[in-house]
């Protein structure tokens, strides 16, 4: 365990979100602290409200009620530019960018540059390092639209790393990655956390989340069912309730709980 400072990165109290005209809250009564320096994984079934919660944490949508503090200050009081200097975001997907890979990764430096300022040496170094770490340096001269979905995902990760943020937020960063790139991504996240970066990710891979995250946040139907270390959150009953499917939980060789969904035959 590494030392963490006492101040949480985010603290949420009674946060609700209901889109105009919607019959129910997409996020309901969320109270939570996201520790600085920790790797936190947000898990839960499709439509549980994970992405909505992330958007509220990033300040791109406002809660209907409740308070969200980022580093002790209300999130809405932060300017986009100041947030972008602290938080790097890897979205699940984005529009088709008409840029070269290096050009796209270099956009991670925009928050650190004035409108007329040219890239400095430190910016070039940050971009090169980010591309190497995400295994996309060999695509530097390619056009982003010629890359596969997984390759594009790694390019988006590289762009966020080029920001050199204190906090990294990722929405299903390994959704379309093969085993090697999924594992290198999780290893990279662990490395970043050891180096002091706060990491928050939403993921469907419960088993890797259990092995790599300090804290799991389990959401279902807009509510936070449980949050804490994997051993406390991933109990068979809780996971089965959240995902509406029976599961077995057994320990991995590392000690982390591993979830395996039952097949219908074994239930019968």
């Amino acid at each position: 365990m590494i030392m963490r400072s006492d101040a949480p990165s985010w603290s949420l109290r009674d946060v609700n979100h209901r889109p105009p005209g919607a019959p129910r809250d997409t996020v309901s009564e969320a109270s939570l602290e996201i520790d600085q320096g920790a790797l936190t994984a947000l898990i839960g079934p499709n439509g549980a409200g994970k992405t909505t919660l992330l958007r509220m944490l990033l300040g791109t949508i406002a809660p209907s009620s409740g308070t969200i503090l980022f580093r002790g200050r209300a999130i809405r009081e932060w300017s986009r530019r100041d947030l972008a200097r602290s938080i790097g975001v890897v979205p699940q997907s984005e529009g088709e960018p008409l840029f070269g890979v290096r050009e796209l990764v270099a956009m991670g430096r925009y928050p650190h540059l004035g409108p007329w300022q040219r890239e400095r040496d430190e910016d070039v170094r940050a971009v090169d390092r980010a591309m190497t770490r995400c295994d996309v340096a060999q695509f530097a001269d390619r056009w982003t639209t010629t890359l596969s979905g997984g390759e594009q995902q790694r390019v988006r990760l590289a762009r966020a790393l080029a920001q050199e943020p204190a906090i990294l937020v990722l929405d299903e960063p390994t959704a379309s990655l093969d085993i090697r790139h999924e594992m290198t991504t999780f290893e990279l996240l662990r490395r970043l956390r050891i180096d002091g970066t706060t990491v928050l990710l939403a993921t469907h891979n419960l088993n890797l989340a259990a092995r790599y995250a300090d804290t799991l946040v389990l959401m279902s139907r807009g509510r936070i069912l449980a949050y804490g270390p994997a051993a406390e959150v991933l109990t068979p009953t809780r996971v089965a309730t959240a995902y509406e499917w029976p599961v077995d939980v057994s320990p991995h060789s590392s000690g982390a709980p591993q979830v395996s969904p039952r097949s219908l035959e074994s239930i019968a």
Partner: protein
């Protein structure tokens, strides 16, 4: 579209250098060629205030202001088009997408049928400008209303532009149905677009709009890059999305309105020039916008010269020239292998 890498990997200074030379050549050709073609020395003499009075008038009062106006209008439309394509994330977007042209037409037709256009020289451009700005405000108001909150949904904006355009065009034709033949003639002439009525005053006003608008949009270049990818991405990388959209839409629309006010609606420049520059040199708006400005200037100054020159006494509508030359050039640019 634009799936492949840019054709050429030139530094920005080389691109701008070539385009500046192109602009100068286009302007020289525009001043030399016409019903009376002039030698280079005659043009230089006239610019210095020497030579025979007829040539002096042709160069200094007719051809030079007209060439400069065509260049400025072309640059303005190309820059606006590039901005609209980025903000709306739609390759079919152009300066007139948000109803600017139909608003300008409505304003101009109002001036024609009330007779003010024939009495006051400035009634027509002022009417067109006011109409253009009013229709843009109407489109924005509809988009904000439908959007529900304080945010501007670009899809709604696009649709609002389409319906407002349709409505204003219908109004224009309704009014023209009951207008006298002379009014219909001058209204249609205006709607086809032309730089024939150019004056130094118009050139000065347009330049005074164009230069600050280009500076504002270039300063927003990085934000436009991000917005062309997506609004969430732009927000995460430090752009104040709503403020940037309003600033960029507003600047591009006012610039288009100024161009339309002096020359009527000239189609195609704002659509095709930005795409051609992207295909040649890539999509970074910090380079794209100044290059599109110069390329638009070259394109429209050359098109205007051809419109005056090729058909002898009859002047071709400039929109005909821009489409007949622009389309084959553009298809040629598109027609190449998708590399790597």
């Amino acid at each position: 579209m634009t799936h492949a890498r840019p054709l050429l990997d030139w530094p920005l200074s080389a691109r701008l250098g070539v385009l500046v030379i192109g602009t100068v050549l286009a302007l020289v050709a525009a001043v030399r060629l016409g019903a009376v073609s002039l030698s280079m020395s005659a043009v230089v003499d006239a610019l210095a205030g020497r030579g025979d009075p007829a040539t002096l008038i042709i160069v200094r009062e007719l051809r030079l202001p007209r060439a400069l106006q065509a260049a400025l209008v072309g640059g303005a439309l190309a820059v606006s088009g590039a901005t609209f394509q980025a903000l709306l994330r739609n390759p079919l977007a152009e300066p007139y997408t948000l109803g600017v042209s139909s608003g300008a037409a409505a304003g101009a037709v109002a001036m024609v049928v009330t007779g003010w256009a024939s009495r006051l020289m400035w009634a027509l451009p002022v009417g067109a400008f006011v109409g253009a700005v009013a229709s843009m405000l109407l489109v924005f108001r509809i988009a904000f209303r439908v959007g529900g909150s304080r945010s501007l949904d670009t899809r709604v904006l696009l649709l609002a532009g389409v319906v407002v355009t349709a409505f204003l065009v219908a109004l224009v034709w309704l009014v023209l149905t009951f207008a006298d033949t002379e009014s219909v003639r001058s209204a249609i002439f205006w709607m086809m677009g032309s730089d024939a009525g150019a004056s130094w005053r118009g050139v000065g006003i347009l330049a005074a709009c164009f230069v600050p608008a280009l500076i504002v949009l270039c300063a927003l270049g990085r934000s436009l890059n991000l917005l062309s990818i997506g609004e969430a991405t732009a927000a995460h990388l430090g752009t104040s999305v709503e403020a940037t959209k309003i600033a960029a839409f507003g600047t591009a629309t006012l610039l288009t309105a100024a161009a339309v006010a002096v020359s009527g609606t000239i189609g195609f420049v704002g659509l095709i020039v930005p795409h051609a520059i992207r295909l040649l040199w890539g999509s970074d708006h910090r380079g794209l916008l100044p290059c599109a400005a110069l390329a638009g200037a070259v394109f429209l100054a050359a098109a205007d010269t051809l419109a005056r020159y090729v058909a002898g006494a009859n002047e071709l509508p400039i929109g005909v020239v821009t489409a007949l030359i622009g389309v084959p050039c553009f298809v040629w640019l598109l027609r190449r292998p998708v590399t790597r």
